[in-house]
């Protein structure tokens, strides 16, 4: 279950997975708020004191922090791709990404300008089929070894991502 550092990487890999398995892949967005962390000393003090100073102590505490996690999951091959953020500035961009991926899911061409893509549809389809076959077989093979990296000819990139993560841990 790789977490990607950049949302663009997540988008790219997810779009490849969607190309390979458009009917089974699902996108999940989880927005979660963790309650504020409390310093144990303060807690005991405020608990010992009256109820009145408690709100003041609460103001000193860190505000509760929300986290936004995007997950692309294909139950057939077991591929899971994740991205996590806590930055408000990214929300709109991430929802737009969901929209882009939604187009692929619906079977629409990925580019916003429909007419242009339809004009060159023949070429696009040929390329797609090739990638999809590679993706499907790659994903199936990988699901057995429990290393769910994105489908389709991106072995090099995915490998790099993995190495980076190991280094940071």
């Amino acid at each position: 279950m790789p977490y990607y550092e950049k949302s663009e990487d997540w988008l790219h890999q997810s779009s490849l997975l969607l190309q390979a398995r458009p009917s089974t892949t699902r996108l999940t967005t989880r927005y979660h708020i963790k309650p504020a962390r409390r310093v144990s000393k303060k807690k005991s003090e405020s608990a010992a004191a009256d109820a009145a100073p408690a709100p003041a102590a609460a103001q000193d505490e860190k505000p509760p922090r929300g986290h936004l996690e995007l997950k692309t999951y294909d139950p057939q091959s077991g591929v899971t791709l994740k991205y996590k953020t806590s930055k408000a500035a990214e929300v709109t961009r991430l929802i737009q990404m969901l929209g882009q991926l939604g187009r692929g899911m619906a079977g629409l061409p990925p580019v916003q300008k429909k007419e242009v893509v339809e004009a060159g549809a023949g070429d696009v389809e040929m390329v797609d089929v090739g990638e999809e076959k590679a993706g499907a077989s790659g994903a199936a093979a990988k699901s057995g070894t429990q290393t769910p990296v994105a489908a389709g000819g991106q072995g090099g990139e995915a490998g790099k991502n993995k190495k980076k993560k190991k280094g940071k841990r």
Binding site: Q19, T28, I33, K34, V91, M105, G107, E125
Partner: protein, 131 residues
């Protein structure tokens, strides 16, 4: 399960987000191609890769209340709506709006250091709105 119209879905989704008064909780949103099992089990295993007609999407939203919290009187809410391919653009524009409004309150604003957050708790809110 009844599918809501887009407007009903967004109205209900807005109420699902945690508020300043109760800053806790989870929302899970999901999207998937809307197909029936029979359609998925066609003879050609690659038939779904290039569908002749674009297919609709189904969007789910839930507040994911666990059994223990449901027993404490917090009901689980489940919403779902179907988006036709031609409505995708409009839907996601509104979706982004609703999600941003509901989520940004507890996410990090753009220019924020840890010290600032402690010293200027109130200013942080204004920057969030501006951003």
């Amino acid at each position: 399960m009844n599918h809501l119209t887009h407007d009903e879905f967004f109205t209900a989704l807005t109420t699902l987000f945690p508020t300043k008064s109760s800053p806790k909780g989870t929302i899970i949103l999901s999207q998937k191609r809307f197909t029936f099992p029979q359609q998925e089990k066609s003879e050609n295993p690659l038939a779904d890769l290039n569908p002749s007609d674009p297919l609709p999407l189904i969007i789910h939203a839930t507040n994911a209340k666990s059994k223990s919290s449901r027993e404490k009187g917090h009901p689980r809410t489940k919403l779902s709506t179907i988006v036709q391919p031609d409505e995708l653009e409009g839907f996601y524009a509104k979706y982004a709006e609703v999600c941003k409004a509901g989520m940004s309150g507890f996410l990090k604003p753009r220019d924020r250091t840890k010290r600032k957050a402690k010293a200027k708790g109130k200013k942080k809110k204004t920057t969030t709105v501006a951003a």
